[in-house]
């Protein structure tokens, strides 16, 4: 565990050095810039709109952050040979990968927490409404970002940064289209390879739309603890599967 913690802390420090935490300030500015655009609804609707839009924006920032933090996490360390200095010590490849992943998760959690505070503060200052329910939405966004990050780290063990970025964009689009377009394709009976592909994508990949609860949080009543528990388990399952595939790929990799 000592090895994993040391590597995680290094990732957090590197994230700070790379100034990704500035994204938090950028986000704050973006949210504040949004607020004058609030429609002239009654107070309740205003708060709903502000929460919904802020969370949607947070979700977008979180995905970009997850990609920035994870996409070159392993491949660039292999290219720069920094991986040799660690793996020549008594550190297993599993510990190395886990340390990196946990580091990314901690960085994401810290950034998202501050973003949540920013939204809370904004809603309170603009509308005098205190809405801690916002953190339910933030947590769902974190879970989605954690899956995307696992996907990037998994691919990062075997591919270069450009290939990884293209793959994660595709992954993001497909996993958000699942319940709509792909489900329709399956029901309406596409044939041949298209059907097999649709089936594989539908049943193998996670459905990231499950983590989109911005509207429900916007209404102010949240998604409920049972739903949150379900999506937490769902996210953990996919995080473990995708990360496990990454571990297997990394074990076989010649460095």
């Amino acid at each position: 565990m000592r090895n994993v913690l040391a590597l995680s802390w290094q990732v957090v420090r590197d994230a700070a050095r790379r100034k990704v935490f500035y994204v938090v300030f950028l986000f704050g500015i973006a949210v504040v810039a949004l607020s004058p655009l609030l429609p002239t609804f009654e107070l309740g609707l205003k708060a709903q709109f502000l929460r919904d839009v802020s969370l949607s924006l947070t979700s977008l920032f979180a995905v970009v952050l997850a990609v920035i933090l994870s996409v070159g996490q392993i491949s660039s360390e292999i290219d720069r040979k920094t991986v040799y200095n660690v793996l020549s010590k008594p550190v297993s490849r599993f510990e190395y990968l886990l340390g990196k992943y946990i580091g990314v998760l901690v960085s994401l959690a810290a950034i998202l927490f501050v973003m949540g505070l920013e939204i809370l503060l904004l809603v309170y200052l603009r509308l005098s409404v205190f809405t801690p329910i916002i953190f339910e939405g933030i947590f769902a966004i974190f879970l989605e970002a954690a899956i995307i990050s696992a996907f990037c780290i998994c691919l990062s063990t075997v591919t270069s940064v450009p290939v990884n970025i293209l793959s994660v964009i595709l992954f993001y689009l497909v996993t958000h289209l699942k319940t709509g377009f792909l489900h329709q394709q399956l029901i309406e009976g596409v044939k041949g390879i298209a059907k097999v592909f649709s089936w594989a994508v539908y049943y193998v990949l996670p459905n990231l739309e499950n983590f989109n609860i911005s509207q429900r949080v916007g209404y102010g009543h949240g998604a409920g603890w049972l739903y949150m528990l379900r999506i937490t388990g769902y996210a953990l399952l996919f995080m473990i599967i995708i990360f496990g595939i990454g571990v297997l790929l990394f074990r076989r990799r010649n460095l």
Partner: protein
């Protein structure tokens, strides 16, 4: 002492990108490094030196063959607690200072904060980075990074040091300092396995060498034995280039930097050679066992061994 490193008939091929073809990186390489010796792995670029080191460290999985590291099978991480590694042209997290960097790596070796700080201080002094220990590594020159890399490799007071081109990027003073550190480590009973292109350096400090070419181990043994030419005497005379011109028809020789010249002369022709040297007005300096430089052996082996 037991072998610190043992590689037996190791082979490794890499698949070429976008092709089914495979390129052999090392073929049937065997190496045996005794405890407490300095062992040099020599070879031209692309000969398979770095792949051999990576196989040792478990960074690359061999296709065939077996080996052990400090008595443990290859890939066993417990052996890694007792070894230090310096990669070729090392790169470290640039945002760390030398002190923080050493503290970071020491955590993998189980050193507590206090121990790590003391050890880091000693090593920073040893490699001559004390004036720059507060700078972040990305502000270091190439030579400073190399010194830091050496300190990082020595962090856990390892029994075995594996060094890929340890003098790369260092000026002559730095090279001499590294050489002195390695000799001192050997005196303390450490085993050092290094790859290097600096043949004169290897000749000065290594007990044994292995020359690899095109992925194959083509010559290996004790340096003193490999450089001895049996049946020949080395005759050193004054005169430098003038002596080479005058006597090269009798025996192959070369001018030495101090104005003398060295010739490898068949034992039964030594007296005739010495007479010829005196006739040419040259002074006889010494007659010793036939000897060649490591560079001569290397060139003979690599060029003669067929690239």
């Amino acid at each position: 002492m037991d072998a610190a490193i043992s590689l037996s008939h190791i082979s490794k091929e890499y698949r070429l990108a976008l092709s089914r073809k495979r390129r052999p990186a090392i073929v049937d390489v065997s190496v045996e490094v005794g405890g407490g010796e300095i062992y040099g792995l020599l070879g031209p670029n692309g000969a398979g030196k770095t792949t051999t080191l990576k196989v040792l460290l478990g960074l690359v999985r061999p296709d065939s063959g077996e080996g052990s590291l400090l008595g443990r099978p290859l890939g066993d991480r417990t052996a890694h607690a007792k070894l230090g590694f310096l990669p070729e042209e090392p790169y470290f997290y640039g945002f760390m200072t030398a002190e923080k960097g050493l503290a970071f790596y020491s955590r993998f070796l189980g050193l507590d904060r206090k121990e790590a700080a003391v050890r880091a201080g000693e090593l920073i002094d040893l490699v001559g980075l004390q004036r720059d220990s507060h700078l972040s590594i990305d502000k270091f020159s190439k030579g400073m990074v190399q010194r830091f890399g050496l300190a990082q490799a020595m962090l856990g007071d390892p029994e075995l040091l594996i060094l890929d081109e340890p003098s790369s990027g260092l000026d002559p003073v730095g090279q001499k300092e590294v050489r002195d550190i390695l000799v001192e480590l050997k005196r303390r009973g450490k085993t050092i396995f290094l790859s290097s292109h600096q043949l004169s350096e290897v000749e000065k400090i290594c007990d044994s060498v292995s020359i690899v070419n095109k992925g194959k181990s083509v010559k290996a043994g004790k340096v003193s034995e490999l450089l001895t030419i049996t049946g020949f005497k080395q005759v050193i005379v004054s005169g430098g280039e003038r002596a080479v011109e005058a006597l090269s028809s009798l025996a192959p020789g070369s001018a030495l930097p101090d104005g003398e010249a060295a010739f490898n002369v068949p034992e039964d022709e030594v007296f005739a050679f010495v007479d010829a040297a005196r006739d040419a007005g040259l002074e006889l300096m010494s007659v010793t066992t036939g000897h060649r430089s490591l560079e001569e052996l290397f060139m003979e082996t690599v060029e003669g061994g067929g690239r």
